[in-house]
């Protein structure tokens, strides 16, 4: 059973932007796309741990602020030719409230 934690509202995140959440797993970046989809990733770029929350969001991707790797918000995977993956977390938008599924991480962490 996933334990859903209320972290705020979708309005708290700027469109095409991100905010951070401090968790026991480390800092998590929560993103909001132009289409108001939301995604959560461990806030560490697979390249050199750059804070992805600070990157430029485009479509369902974010460009890391340090060296411009492009990371898929859904899967956490880097776009080719770069290789690497950060951990995606479950995040759902229920009537504007954002619920983060912290323990859902185990399921995908090795995916």
């Amino acid at each position: 059973m996933t334990n859903w934690i209320d972290i705020g509202t979708i309005a708290d995140i700027p469109r095409l932007g991100a905010r951070t959440v401090e968790t026991a797993l480390g800092q998590v970046a929560v993103f909001r796309t132009a289409e108001d989809e939301v995604f959560a990733l461990i806030n560490k770029c697979p390249h050199k741990n750059g804070p992805l929350s600070e990157g430029i969001v485009m479509g369902r991707k974010v460009a890391c602020p340090l060296h411009n790797w492009v990371i898929d918000l859904n899967s956490g995977h880097a776009d080719a030719p770069d290789e690497g993956c950060t951990t995606p977390l479950a995040l759902k938008d229920e009537g504007g409230r954002l619920l983060l599924g912290l323990d859902a991480v185990a399921a995908v962490a090795h995916g």
Binding site: G17, E54, V57, A80, P81
Partner: protein
């Protein structure tokens, strides 16, 4: 239909020769083989030639990957990267890798390249000795460069020189030891070799020619080299680049015939008909290889044979050499000197321009060419040599190059080439053997418009890149446009920067959404490349109207501080003209104490940097700095950075004008402006130029009679000295002319183009026409600049310090356990 079972092809060596052969094979017979590739290096196939550019900091590893991993997947090739083959059993037809993996083959391809030649020197096993062959070597050299050690390069051939230059570019002091009296003696005659040494000497390399290395000094690690004549050269990094020898290990393992290299016939097969070999590991007709041009030929022949062709056969093409050191142009092909009375040398020298040419003519044929300084005609001479063409007709004009030798020639293009006069079979890309005709044909048939497309379709300029200007010239010639311009902004659009900027004004596009819609953007949100550019173009076009889209700015410009590698930030307050006060210094000290800021550093731009500030502390740090009157220095902005000054006439015994005060006036006028790339100014009080005005975007050098204004300098990656614009007599004029130039650059510069490349693109004459020859136009530019500034000069820190603007940037959304 796939009725014939596929054969198994195993390739040993995931390098340039091996993968080119596979590419050629896939093009001919896509389904004939199941292909397995073993590579000792943990990387996908990359362009080894470009390691020199990576070392010099001109390219990243990412830029030189030829076949990314996805390519292997798409073509169903099994890649074992980082797993070297250690054994071959030709009887059972299996190979064994270091990991223990065994794979059976029907055909085997050996493409293991070569090994760096190591001289038998005492001390060669010490730490600190590297060769120059692969990415791992580059990593070692870069680590040493970062530690700011000293380097000694042994070997003054192509490889050694490129290594030395790369390390020098990385900031290391470099000495080069060469056995022979002149550099590159195998490719250059004495005179060109001497010119080369002189030019590299001027660029700060130290040479020890006629230097026989006797041993490596040092006990724990390398500390330098000792020469036979008693000289010693200190260095903690010793790069050995004296040559290569074919890597025949796999030939031995397979028990095929070997001499210097693995012996192959004209069909590229070894003595075992099921085992082929290509690249630097082979020996063909007594010859071994070290350049890619012949290797690409081998790849073609080998692929044809593997695909079932029974006639394709390999002949070594004529070879030419170029050195890949930016700004040093060297070309040679064929004979370096007359060999007997029948040969004649024709020599041309222009010492002032540093140009030297030597042609070797035998009978009515050209048999050799050595060019130094201006190599634009290299390809043409090379064609004459290869084609064994009769040059009697143009014998007396030959030395002056194609433009003069060809009778009815017209104007040349930018690169000094005459594309119209080039024959179709003129070879343009030596590495890939692509002729002018092939490029013209591809452009026409496939409708190519960009350099990248031409590269993708023809491979021209895709290897060492030296022929890029020629390919570009052909592209512009065929498409009738300036090849520099149609370079598109990014993958989201087919338009170039100028087109977009004009459309914004002509169609009065005022939002990013309108713009993308009107110009048919291919992506909904744009990307990290085009969005910051569009945001700037709109901001510049519609001052006061356009609402800045801060989500389209890089993090630094979004939070008005520079992100550091650990995710903390640096804060640089403005220090007008480099002048400060005890009160400001106290405020900076207090802030550093209060927020535990780990590093306080004086920058190269005459001000103070506070490094390692936590993001959430930024607003409070700014608040405290604001209290003392300090505002953002925009150390993060594509905008005005610093105005450096010297003490000038106020204090200095040579000062002619108050350079400090003038610098402050310029900075007060220009701060806060957004520009295509960063802009830096300097004002020096006399021609001694202590503020280094001659490498700034705008420099003012005070003289008794007034102010010399210079523009387009850059002290960065590619140092460029300014061009003089004009002499002015009053401070007011300096402000007007500087602002006018700034505005012209703001309106015409491409995003991320500094003034130096901007100036080279549009030409100094254009700038003079706009600023000097058109008084009304200059005044209008000045007025537009001041108008834009009226919306730009709000301290971004003050807006954020109180928590008003963008507060969400600096706080976590939530803390959960």
């Amino acid at each position: 239909m796939n009725s014939v079972p596929r054969q198994r092809l195993v390739v040993i060596g995931n390098g340039m020769a091996g993968m080119r052969t596979v590419e050629e094979l896939l093009a001919r017979a896509p389904v004939r083989y199941d292909i397995t590739v073993f590579g000792a290096e943990p990387h996908p196939n990359y362009n080894r030639i470009m390691l020199s550019s990576v070392l010099a900091g001109e390219k990243q590893i990412d830029d030189i990957i030829i076949n990314p991993r996805a390519w292997y997947t798409q073509n169903a090739i099994t890649l074992h990267a980082g797993d070297a083959v250690i054994g071959i059993d030709a009887k059972t037809k299996t190979v064994t890798a270091a990991s223990g993996l065994r794979v059976a083959y029907d055909k085997l391809l050996l493409a293991t390249g070569s090994k760096p030649l190591m001289p038998p020197l005492p001390g060669l096993d010490l730490p600190g000795i590297v060769t120059f062959r692969d990415i791992a070597d580059i990593d070692k050299m870069l680590a040493a460069a970062e530690a700011k050690q000293r380097a000694v390069v042994i070997g003054g051939g192509l490889l050694g020189l490129e290594a030395a230059w790369g390390l020098k570019r990385r900031g290391m002091p470099v000495a080069l030891v060469h056995l022979m009296p002149t550099l590159m003696e195998r490719q250059l005659d004495t005179e060109a070799g001497t010119l080369l040494q002189r030019d590299l000497d001027e660029r700060g390399l130290h040479f020890f020619t006629s230097g026989q290395t006797e041993r490596i000094i040092g006990s724990e690690r390398a500390e330098g080299v000792a020469l036979a004549d008693g000289r010693t050269v200190p260095g903690d990094l010793v790069v050995v680049a004296i040559g290569i020898r074919p890597n025949v290990d796999m030939g031995k393992a397979a028990d095929v015939d070997i001499n210097r290299g693995i012996l192959v016939g004209d069909d590229m097969a070894t003595s075992d008909p099921d085992i082929y070999a290509v690249g630097e590991c082979v020996e063909h007709n007594g010859q071994v290889f070290g350049l890619v041009a012949p290797i690409w030929e081998q790849a073609k022949v080998c692929a044809a044979r593997l695909a079932g062709d029974t006639v394709a056969s390999y002949v070594t093409p004529a070879l030419s050499t170029r050195l890949k050191i930016t700004g040093i142009d060297v070309f040679s092909a064929g004979k370096l000197a007359a060999e007997d009375d029948g040969d004649e040398e024709v020599v041309f020298r222009d010492a002032a321009k540093g140009v030297y040419r030597k042609l070797v003519v035998r009978g009515n044929r050209l048999v050799g060419a050595v060019l130094y300084g201006d190599v634009a005609d290299g390809g043409w001479y090379f064609d004459l040599i290869k084609g064994n063409k009769d040059v009697a007709e143009m014998r007396d004009r030959l030395i002056f190059g194609q433009g003069f030798a060809d009778q009815d020639c017209c104007g040349g293009s930018k690169a000094g080439l005459n594309v119209a006069a080039m024959t179709d079979d003129t070879q343009v890309c030596g590495c890939n053997g692509v002729s002018k005709g092939a490029i013209v044909k591809a452009i026409g048939e496939k409708g190519l418009t960009t350099l990248d497309e031409v590269r993708a379709h023809t491979k021209a300029s895709a290897s060492c890149g030296m022929c890029t200007p020629t390919v570009q010239a052909i592209l512009s010639f065929v498409t009738g446009s300036d090849a520099a311009a149609p370079e598109v902004m990014c993958k989201c659009t087919d338009h170039g920067h100028d087109h977009v900027r004009h459309a914004i004004l002509d169609q009065r596009l005022k939002t990013m959404a309108d713009l993308r819609e009107a110009l048919g953007w291919k992506t909904a949100d744009g990307c990290a490349k085009c969005r910051p550019a569009l945001n700037y173009y709109l901001l510049c076009a519609w001052p006061g109207e356009y609402v800045d889209d801060y989500r389209s700015r890089f993090i630094n410009e979004r939070v008005h501080a520079n992100i550091q590698k650990d995710g903390t930030y640096s804060v640089i307050p403005r220090m007008w003209g480099g002048v400060t006060t005890p009160a400001e210094l106290r405020a900076i000290a207090d802030v550093a104490d209060k927020f535990n800021i780990p590093t306080v550093k004086v920058t190269g731009g005459q001000r103070i940097d506070l490094l390692g500030v936590k993001k959430q502390d930024l607003p409070a740090v700014w608040g405290d700095l604001n209290q003392a009157g300090l505002v953002s220095g925009h150390g993060y902005a594509k905008g005005l950075r610093t105005v450096k000054t010297c003490v000038g006439s106020e204090w200095c015994r040579f000062g002619t004008q108050d350079s400090t005060a003038l610098g402050i006036k310029l900075e007060k006028m220009m701060w806060g402006s957004w520009t295509p790339h960063k802009v830096k100014l300097a004002v020096s009080g006399c021609p001694r130029n202590c503020a280094e005005a001659t490498i700034k975007d705008i420099g003012i050098i005070c003289v008794e009679a007034g102010y010399d204004m210079v523009i387009g300098g850059n002290g960065g990656i590619e140092v460029r000295v300014t061009d003089p614009l004009t002499r002015l007599t009053t401070e007011a004029e300096v402000l007007e002319y500087s602002a006018a130039f700034m505005q012209l650059y703001r309106e015409e510069g491409h995003y991320l183009e500094r003034t130096a490349p901007y100036l080279e693109r549009v030409g100094l004459a254009h700038i003079k026409a706009r600023i000097l020859e058109d008084d009304a136009g200059r005044k209008a530019l000045y007025a537009r600049f001041l108008f834009a500034q009226s919306f730009a000069q709000d301290d971004p820190w003050a807006e954020r310090a109180g928590g008003g603007v963008d507060a969400h940037e600096f706080q976590s959304l939530a803390v959960v356990s």
